[in-house]
Symmetry: C2
Subunit: 327 residues, 2 copies
C-alpha cells in the first residue's frame, strides 16, 4: 500500500467527519507531527484554494473545496486497486502521454496517473494535435503494466472509451456514444479523445499509457477554427459547470473497475460494453483507410478489436486503422 501524503490524510479526515470539524489534535495524532506542522499543512491547503476556518475549541472546518487537480485531492478516499497508485499533476507539460512514457521508461509502477492543467503539445491520434487550453478540461494519462502480449494491447483503447462514457454518464446524466476507434461523442460532436501508446518487446508489454482528453468546461469560443470534426464540451451540452475533480476521480475509478474485469475475464466484456455504446452498429458506414475506402454495414468488433464491416457484396472486412462515419 502507498503512504498517503499529509494533505491527503487531512482531506480524508475532513471527508469522514459528519459535522465537517476536525480537531488539530486529531490531525496531529493521525500524521504523527506537531501542531505547528499541522498548521503549516492547513496553510498550504488554503493556499491551494481550500476554504478552511479555525474555530477555537472545535478545530478546523472545511467550508469549500476548490476545483483544482492536485494529487492529494484526487487520491483522498479514491476507491481504486491499481489506478492512482501515484498521481503527478502539472500546471503545464508538453503532453501527459509523453510524461507518462518518460516515467514508464524510468520504471514507474502500474497505475501511475499524469495530469496536466494544460498541454503545450497535446497529442491526438496519428500525430494530430489535441487542443489543450488551461483551467477547463481534463488531460490525463494512466500507465498500466498488464501481463499481456503486445498484440492484445490495442484493445485497451476500448477500455478507456467505456470508462470515459461511464464517467460522463455518472457526472452529468448524459449518454455519450463511441466512434471507432478512439472518440467519444455527445450529439454527434467530439467531447473526448483517446490516445493509447505502448512500449513493448516481442513477447512482453513494458507498459501501456492510456491517454485521455475530455472537454469538460471549454466554451464554444475556445475551439479552434477548422477542426476535422465538430467538437463540444460537457458544460456546453449539460448547461452547467463540471467539477474537474469529481470527474477525474470518477473516471479513475471507472478505469480501475474495468481494468480489474479485463485482468480477470479478458477483453470480451469490454468489447461488448463498447459495442453497446456505439450507435453506428447495424448502420451503413464509410471507412477511410490509408489507401482505400470501405463501405457497408457496421457489424461490431472482432475478437481482436478490428472493426467489422459487411460490404454490399456480402464480404466481411476487418479494419484495423481508419476513420469511420455514417454513410
Amino acid at each position: 500500500m502507498r503512504n498517503p501524503a499529509p494533505r491527503e490524510t487531512i482531506l480524508t479526515l475532513f471527508s469522514q467527519t459528519p459535522d465537517g470539524f476536525v480537531s488539530g489534535e486529531r490531525i496531529s495524532a493521525e500524521l504523527g507531527v506537531s501542531r505547528t506542522a499541522v498548521w503549516k499543512h492547513i496553510r498550504s491547503l488554503r493556499q491551494a484554494g481550500y476554504l478552511i476556518e479555525a474555530i477555537p475549541s472545535r478545530g478546523y472546518q472545511l467550508l469549500q473545496t476548490p476545483d483544482v487537480l492536485m494529487p492529494e485531492a484526487i487520491q483522498s478516499g479514491l476507491e481504486c486497486r491499481w489506478v492512482g497508485s501515484r498521481v503527478h499533476c502539472f500546471d503545464e507539460t508538453d503532453s501527459t502521454n509523453l510524461q507518462a512514457c518518460r516515467l514508464g521508461d524510468e520504471g514507474a509502477t502500474d497505475g501511475l496517473v499524469v495530469i496536466a492543467d494544460r498541454q503545450s503539445s497535446g497529442k491526438g491520434r496519428m500525430g494530430r494535435r489535441w487542443e489543450s487550453p488551461g483551467g477547463v478540461n481534463l488531460y490525463a494519462s494512466i500507465l498500466l503494466r498488464p501481463p499481456i502480449l503486445p498484440f492484445e494491447a490495442p484493445k485497451l483503447t476500448f477500455l478507456s472509451a467505456v470508462a470515459v462514457c461511464r464517467a460522463i454518464n455518472i457526472c452529468t446524466g448524459l449518454q455519450p456514444t463511441v466512434k471507432w476507434p478512439n472518440d467519444i461523442l455527445l450529439n454527434g460532436a467530439k467531447v473526448a479523445g483517446l490516445l493509447n501508446e505502448m512500449s513493448s518487446e516481442t513477447d512482453q508489454v513494458h507498459y501501456v499509457v492510456l491517454g485521455i482528453g475530455v472537454n469538460l468546461n471549454m466554451n464554444a469560443e475556445q475551439f479552434p477554427e477548422g477542426l476535422r470534426y465538430p467538437a463540444t464540451s460537457l458544460a456546453i451540452v449539460a448547461g452547467q459547470v463540471i467539477s474537474r475533480l469529481d470527474f477525474t476521480r470518477t473516471l479513475l475509478q471507472e478505469i480501475d473497475a474495468l481494468y480489474q474485469i479485463y485482468l480477470e475475464q479478458g477483453s470480451t466484456p469490454i468489447l461488448s460494453a463498447w459495442t453497446e455504446l456505439c450507435d453506428l452498429t447495424g448502420k451503413s458506414v464509410q471507412v477511410d483507410c490509408n489507401e482505400s475506402q470501405v463501405e457497408g454495414t457496421m457489424i461490431g468488433l472482432a475478437e481482436d478489436g478490428a472493426l467489422l464491416v459487411r460490404t454490399a457484396a456480402g464480404k466481411i472486412e476487418s479494419i484495423y486503422a481508419g476513420d469511420v462515419r455514417p454513410a
Copy 2:
C-alpha cells in the same frame, strides 16, 4: 541523401584506388578543404588505428585497417537503402536498445544504427541480462519506422534472425540455425540473441528497434557461469578471429535487403526463410510457456509469427511466448 563525414570520404577514396594511393590534392578537392585540413583528418584516422603512410610525390597509402567500429568505417561504401542512414558508435553505453529508443523518442530517422563496444546493462529477452564484454563482440540496435500496424511488428524478429544467419554464413561459411523466438545457434549453442522493442500507438508504429547481440570473438573463459543455455562465439566455432567491421557491414546490408523485401512483399518470404533455418521444424518439441507446457511436433510458423505445434491429441497450438527445446 546523407552527407558523408570527411573521414568516411577518405576511406571510400582509399577503397576505390587499385594501388592504394590517394594524393593529398585529390582528397583536398573531394572534401573542398585545405591540405592542412586533409592532414588533420589523416592524423585522426591514424589515431583511430589506421596505418597510413605518406609517400612524397605519390600521396597517402592505406596499409592497414584496424578492426574498430566507427561510423565512417561502417558507412564507407555501405550498400544500404535505409539501414545505416546514421550510425552512432559508443565505447560504452547502458544498452544499445535503450539508446536507440531514446533517440527514437527524440525523432531519430529510419535506419539509425547504434553500436557499442561494450554494454554496462546489456538486455536480453524478458528483462534478462545479455553479457556484453568490450572489444570482442557486436552489440547493435537498428531503428526502423515501417508503415505497419503494431501487431505486425513482432514478426520483424524473424527478419533480424534471418539477417544474422546470412551474415554469419557469408563471413565464416558456417550454417547457423534459429531457435524460436529469438536465438541463433551454432552446434546447438547460442551465438547470437535478438531483442526487438517497439513504441506504438493503437494504429501506428512510432518505431521498432531491432536489438542484435552476436558473440564474435568472445573466448570460452569470457562466458559467465550458470548460463541458461550453452553459449559459444563465431571465433570458437570457426577457429579464427572474426573482423567486427566486416561482420557489422555485412549484417547491416543483409538487414537492409530483407527490409526491402518485407516492405515490398510482406512477411511471408521472411517467415519462409526463417522456417528453413530452423532445424526443429518437423521434430518433437517441448515449449515452456508462462503457466503451461506444450508438447508436440513443431509444424512451423503461423502467418502472424506464432509457433505452431501439433500435440499428440492432434490439436494445433499457436504459441506466442515461451521457450522451446527438443523433446
